[in-house]
């Protein structure tokens, strides 16, 4: 950390705080409060991400790192810790309110500060990471006990299990001695094993670990026994890291709801020490919140994922996908269009991509009829460059999508030996490369954003049902199915779900455009008409597939066969491959 850092000492009741400030003091101030058993150094990564745009301030909390504090637990009440926080803010930004960010115990202290009367004059916004207001948490736990619905009981139990360490910290001697005797040395290793995060241990860790135990002892029991009502008018953003072993998302998201006026709860992917693991991501979340009109009067509209994150009071019937962005390829017709309408009806904004621009524009009209926003795009999914440009365009105009449906696909039928190389190139281009490009471009964006997402790929029952008339089509769809399964395994760590949809015979336009290789134009026209009639009489509409796609996203389903024949095909392929092979010899088109 080099960017013109200045250090100063702030004297407070019972101690002296070591404070660092970075960047231009005339810019808006962001004050970062560290947790346990860290020091302000835990923010180094985040600071360097923010310093160009903000006046950034960190400090060691009392008794920790380079700050001095009393030796007894009564010197560490939240009352005093919050006083410290105000004292630092008053010194580094005497004339203007600041944006506050807290992690772990720093977050607990910051909650105490923003829930004081008149806190809005000191703080413009508050971003809380992995540390609840203890009063809110106590009230939330009680409500779970008072109304012991199974759901409430489970979430309380989960949180209780996650809080094991609090109990340990109340044991009279053990924990403090443990820190002194070598826990400090082992700490980075433990964290790496638990979280996969590399921590640089501070030279004072053995002392801080043991001193910090006083933070727990001074506050936990009193707050749990006698919680107070602590409301705030400061807008609050709660970041809930997935895989946090200490604070469950249910507690983080629900406990503050009754006590805040404007609350935004956002999932971030990473463990408890996400501030070290993904500093750029955390800095971005802070920046988005702090610069938006929520925290800065006259600032720009909040980004989509922030809008989505707003926890509105008493709006249970809020549309399920409100403020979500769904990208669908091949959305000008059939299953793609029906999926666009299904998501639009549930509140999402839709990027409608198709090679046929008239069809895409029409879908947008319909999406808008349902009261949603639609963005038409003309793109050929088989072109890598076109898809890249398309994805970047989407990001620039509408943001990073939450759901991507790789749906564009074409049909092809006929003997293998009549299928020419250019036929193969065509179908693999659209059906396989289209999915690869879509998953690559948008998957990268989703991973970067760190809020997870979902990718849906349209495979087909043909992916696992061999047929002598569908060698090219089935091959392309088998590739999509396998790609989806592999991606699912790989992307799980980013919180990105991947689903493969395997429909049977769905009445769409595909039967009117399918190429029947080895047939004259006239024969092909007749075959198309006959197959279209068959599919129409099968009478399974694309809207039903769309509902299953929405459900696959909602419940993160791996593989979804749709329609009876697709389910039967799957069962046969598993139970009796020999039967499947015999059936493969039938020619339904002849």
């Amino acid at each position: 950390m080099t960017q013109d850092v200045r250090t100063l000492a702030v004297t407070v009741e019972g101690g002296k705080l070591s404070v660092r400030t970075y960047g231009d003091p005339s810019k808006p101030t962001v004050l970062l409060v560290h947790g346990y058993p860290d020091t302000q150094a835990v923010w180094d990564g985040v600071v360097s991400e923010l310093v160009d745009d903000f006046h950034v301030v960190t400090y060691d909390t009392r008794g920790i790192g380079a700050s001095k504090g009393p030796l007894f637990k009564h010197g560490y009440t939240l009352q005093l810790l919050a006083d410290d926080l105000y004292a630092v803010a008053d010194i580094v930004a005497p004339d203007q309110p600041v944006h506050l960010v807290g992690h772990d115990w720093g977050s607990i202290q910051a909650w105490e500060a923003v829930t004081r009367a008149d806190s809005a004059q000191r703080f413009l916004s508050y971003t809380s990471i992995s540390g609840p207001c203890l009063d809110h948490a106590a009230m939330w736990t009680r409500s779970g006990i008072r109304k012991p619905t199974p759901k409430a009981a489970v979430r309380s139990l989960k949180q209780a299990l996650a809080s094991w360490y609090i109990v340990v910290f109340h044991l009279p001697v053990g924990p403090r001695v443990a820190w002194r005797l070598g826990l400090a040395k082992q700490w980075p290793r433990i964290i790496r094993a638990m979280e996969g995060t590399r921590l640089d241990p501070s030279p004072t860790l053995h002392r801080d670990g043991s001193r910090g135990v006083l933070y727990y002892r001074a506050n936990m029991l009193p707050k749990m026994r006698h919680p107070e009502e602590r409301p705030t008018t400061v807008p609050v953003q709660v970041l809930t890291p997935t895989g946090d072993r200490f604070v469950t998302p249910a507690l983080a998201a629900q406990a503050p709801a009754p006590w805040t006026e404007r609350l935004y709860v956002r999932k971030v992917h990473g463990g408890h020490w996400i501030v070290v693991k993904k500093p750029a991501l955390i800095a971005e979340r802070i920046r988005e919140f702090v610069q938006s009109s929520i925290a800065t009067p006259g600032g720009p509209e909040p980004v989509r994922s922030l809008l989505r994150a707003e926890a509105k009071q008493g709006t249970k019937d809020r549309p399920e996908f409100e403020d979500k962005l769904v990208v669908i390829t091949g959305a000008g017709s059939g299953i793609g269009r029906a999926t666009a309408l299904a998501f639009a009806e549930k509140g999402a904004d839709i990027v409608v991509a198709d090679i046929d621009s008239v069809a895409a524009a029409r879908t947008v009209e319909l999406v808008e009829l349902l009261g949603a926003r639609g963005y038409p795009y003309t793109v050929d999914v088989s072109s890598g460059e076109a898809m890249e440009a398309f994805a970047n365009d989407v990001k620039a105009t509408a943001g990073v999508p939450d759901v991507v449906v790789n749906n564009a696909g074409i049909g092809m039928s006929g003997p293998f030996l009549a299928t020419e190389v250019k036929d193969w190139e065509k179908i693999l281009g659209v059906n396989v490369w289209g999915v690869i490009h879509g998953a690559r471009c948008f998957g990268e964006m989703m991973r970067e954003r760190g809020e997870g997402g979902h990718i849906v790929n349209l495979a087909s029952a043909a992916a696992y049902t061999p047929s002598r008339t569908l060698s090219a089509y089935s091959t392309s769809k088998a590739a999509v199915l396998m790609l989806s399964e592999c991606l699912r395994a790989e992307f799980a760590r980013y919180g990105i779900g991947v689903s493969a949809i395997c429909p049977g015979f769905i009445a769409t336009n595909i039967t009117r455009t399918t190429k029947f290789v080895g047939q004259s134009a006239e024969q092909q026209e007749r075959t198309r008409q006959r197959i279209t009639g068959l599919y129409r009489r099968r009478n399974f509409g694309p809207d039903k597939v769309a509902e299953r796609i929405v459900d696959a996203v909602r419940r993160d389903k791996p593989v979804v066969p749709v329609a009876l024949e697709a389910k039967a095909g799957k069962a046969i392929s598993r139970l009796s491959p020999a039967l499947a092979r015999r059936m493969a010899k039938i020619d339904p088109t002849g």
Binding site: E345, V358, L366, T532
Partner: protein
Amino acid sequence: MSAGAPALTLDAVSNKTGPTSEALQRHRDAQALAYRCAETVGAGLEAGVTEREVARRMRAFLRENGVADFFHIPFAWFGERTAFRSLKGPWTPLHFFPTNKRLKEGMSYVLDCSPVVDGYVSDIGYAGVLGKPGDNRIFDALMRDLAQYRTLILDRIKAGDTLSEVYAAVDVLIAQQGYESRHKVYPGSVIGHQVGRMTQRRNMGRYAFGFGLRTLETLGREIVTEGIKGRSPLWAGGRASRHAPTPGLWAVEPHIGFRNVGVKFEELLVVTEDDAFWLDDDLPHVRRWQEQGLAAVPVLEGARS
């Protein structure tokens, strides 16, 4: 009076191949009366009225205007029922009958009546909304796009297509527009049926399943006699409709839907040996499309081919 029907064809329609010009005029009068009924009743609708009450008003209007018999009893559908959707479970033929569903502000409705005047049959469909344009955007869009079907169907019949080909073209247009076919819900999935003069007086004013007994008798007879010639008096998408329309009068009723709104028109189409035309252009929905400049809208690319 018909504004657009070519005068020459009235005389070209001979007794053998279809109704005479005199007969056409009588059908046209019956159709005009039916539309007047729908328009009048529609204009008088108020929030809270039930489908049953509206069907009763249509019947009363027609009786007051001298109608003694119906091809089928008057139907009225509100809200999601205009798209033939039931909020509880699947749609069955029984659901066609008027219910106690109440009309609300901004809700779509469809009125369908078929007075028989001196044996001259008419059969019309009329879609509307309680409120003003803009109150129900889905209805406005559907109604605007419905105009294309009037053009498409006539064009294709004039071009000599078979009924099943026209039916398929209508399906393609519906798919392109992104709507759903709702006429496919009608018994037999028909988009139309032949009508003529009902001469005998037996069973007048008696009904079964909502259709006049005379209607069923006539239809039954037609199905048999036309069936012998390999034709059907019903117009659907299957094998039985793989023929050019039999000269005469056809009631054509494309019914399209989007989500919980459905719209339709139903009019008589005159088919002669070598031509076809809509019996009357002076109808409420056609006038509305003319005002909007939609009367002769080009059909979406592809639906014609």
